[in-house]
């Protein structure tokens, strides 16, 4: 039988206090297999009774070397890997990557494709927030929200399946536009969702927002000041819960976000409850954006006409020799991007999802780096958790809304 290895500090002794080394305080391993760490996150806790003195995150259990793998694939094929990073925001990852490629090679995107991108990205934001709401409430023993939020999430995944054939790993957004136009049933399905969504959000809120037990578990817990939050590189709802107005959709608008009328919800308390309220308000704003985008959805092509970078439509391949050559070249060799580097960012449900893309003039990316919001957001956990109870730690992890695929990539 294999020897069970003793859990050691693995050179982490400089991170815990002397009291822990002398055995005065307790060192406790939380995770990597723990239901409320939302994936495979290991925390080394230093506890004084039930009070958390320090929480040292240990990550990397889901590391799959996506950045290295992408260097060996052409630009189109590498995109498939972006879905697998932040599996709650697949559309947003595709969008971030495609914006970077488009910036690098100078591709235009038709207005209809841009509007479709906005609709799907916002639907995915709602779906990601629904999962967050369900699971983080579940961590606090509020069981029923989970059932309701997953009901609506199914509707959104159904819409994604309708447009792309896949529920989660869509790769629907492609450099230069989207894969193909949406089917005719798309509009009715989105309108149905928009009609019920505001009432459903009220329903989730009626279970939690004014629930005294929920307020007890969230208000004043895991506080972080605005200045600290920025210095620790927090972004997204976690930062806006501390009152800093930083949303990439307003800061550096992309895909035509500047034409939609929406607000960036802010709270100043900086605790778990503030982050909860910000995300709930964000869902309502996303519904507003989707509504506007559907109302003025322009007609026209859904991908760029630049055949050097974007494959021709299927219908042309049968009749045009040139289209066949382009199709063949793009799916075997790929396209050569000009030498250079770009950084482009989108607002994912968790914060600033940035892509650094460098090209050496060949058909494969020379270097891709993802600035993933969860990576920077998780880092602040020891600061937030210090002095709170172990039970509060679970609430804090839930409120930061981490996705381990996003952290380890």
């Amino acid at each position: 039988m294999a020897q069970i290895e003793e859990v050691t500090l693995d050179g982490m002794t400089h991170l815990v206090s002397n009291r822990a080394l002398e055995g005065e305080t307790m060192l406790l391993n939380m995770g990597p297999q723990h239901p409320s760490t939302h994936g495979v996150l290991r925390l080394l806790l230093e506890l004084d009774g039930e009070t958390v003195l320090n929480a040292i995150p240990d990550i990397g259990f889901l590391h799959t070397g996506i950045e290295k793998n992408m260097e060996a694939k052409t630009y189109q094929k590498a995109e498939v890997m972006t879905d697998r990073m932040d599996y709650m925001n697949t559309v947003g990852n595709n969008l971030a990557y495609c914006l970077a490629v488009e910036k690098l090679v100078g591709l235009d995107v038709p207005v209809r494709a841009q509007a479709l991108r906005v609709v799907l990205a916002e639907l995915k934001r709602i779906s990601s927030h629904l999962v967050w709401l369900g699971t983080s409430a579940l961590d606090l023993a509020a069981m029923s929200d989970f059932m309701y939020t997953f009901r609506e999430r199914e509707m959104i995944l159904g819409i994604l399946e309708m447009v792309s054939g896949q529920r989660m790993m869509t790769t629907y957004i492609r450099p230069g536009g989207v894969w193909r136009d949406v089917p005719v049933e798309f509009e009715a399905a989105v309108r149905d969702l928009l009609k019920i969504m505001p009432r459903r959000i009220d329903e989730y809120e009626s279970l939690l927002t004014k629930n005294p037990l929920f307020i007890d578990r969230t208000a004043g817990i895991g506080k972080i000041s605005a200045e600290d939050a920025v210095n620790w590189g927090l972004t997204g709802a976690t930062l806006r819960g501390s009152g800093v107005n930083y949303d990439i959709r307003k800061f550096a608008p992309y895909s035509g976000y500047e034409q939609y009328d929406f607000e960036v919800p802010l709270r100043t308390e900086g605790d778990v409850r503030a982050r909860y309220l910000v995300r709930i308000a964000e869902m309502r704003q996303s519904v507003r954006i989707v509504q506007q985008a559907m109302d003025k959805m322009p007609m026209g092509p859904v991908r760029s006409n630049n055949r050097k970078f974007v494959p021709p439509p299927r219908s042309e391949i049968g009749t045009s020799m040139e289209a066949l050559i382009h199709h063949f070249k793009l799916w075997t060799e790929g396209f050569n991007a000009p030498r250079g580097f770009v950084y482009s960012a989108v607002e994912s449900p968790r914060g600033e999802q940035g892509v650094y893309l460098e090209s050496d003039g060949g058909p494969k990316p020379f270097r891709v780096h993802f600035r993933n919001p969860s990576f920077d957001n998780l880092q602040v956990l020891p600061v937030m958790a210090k002095g709170f109870l172990v039970a509060d730690l679970v609430a804090i992890i839930g409120s930061v809304d981490i996705v381990l695929g996003d952290i380890d990539r």
């Binding site: 070397g65 210095n231 620790w232 590189g233 930083y246 990576f375 920077d376 880092q379 602040v380």
Partner: protein, 176 residues
């Protein structure tokens, strides 16, 4: 690029003996500073020019070039002024060392650990320079260009036995 950002870059070029480069044809201006001055430059960028958020920190490997082999790529964002500044610092492949900016931007801690883990660039003065994504006893730095992607050798009829000997499973099977 706003006029304001241009003056910031100009001031930093003068002060830190830097250069500028264009990212791509339509790109923004990027500042290049010598790596030994990056910690001081980060402090000035943070305190004097108000870039309060470190958006991204990563590295690029230009192997087989040796000096400089790596570029550290920083992106600083100023939330109040709504602008971003890209900074690069060339690092030698013979002595891959860089000063840490962790004291100025706290989130550099994990980002520098990631660069150390995947590129092997050591950050001087870092409080906790351990591997972060790879296992703690891993050898090598995977994102370096001379580190191969893992693969299994294809066995054809003519070289089946030759490769079979090298395969770990093959040895185990024979031992039994």
């Amino acid at each position: 690029m706003s006029a304001n950002l241009a003056t910031v870059i100009e001031a930093l070029v003068k002060r830190f003996d830097g250069q500028t480069t264009e990212g791509c044809a339509t790109g923004e201006t990027t500042l290049i500073v010598p790596v030994e001055k990056i910690a001081e430059a980060a402090r000035v960028i943070h305190d004097e020019f108000g870039f309060n958020l470190l958006s991204s920190l990563t590295a690029v490997d230009y192997w087989p070039e040796e000096n400089p082999r790596f570029h550290l790529v920083y992106r600083f964002t100023s939330i109040p002024n709504a602008q971003s500044l890209d900074v690069r610092a060339p690092v030698s492949g013979l002595q891959p060392f860089a000063p840490t900016i962790e004291t100025v931007y706290h989130n550099a801690n994990w980002n520098e650990r990631e660069v150390y883990d995947l590129f092997g660039i050591k950050f001087e003065g870092h409080s906790d320079l351990r591997r972060i994504l790879m296992p703690h006893d891993w050898e090598g730095h995977p994102l370096r260009k001379d580190y191969p992607l893992g693969y299994e050798e294809p066995q054809f009829t003519f070289n089946f036995d030759e490769i079979d000997v090298r395969k770990p499973y093959a040895k185990n099977r024979r031992a039994e």
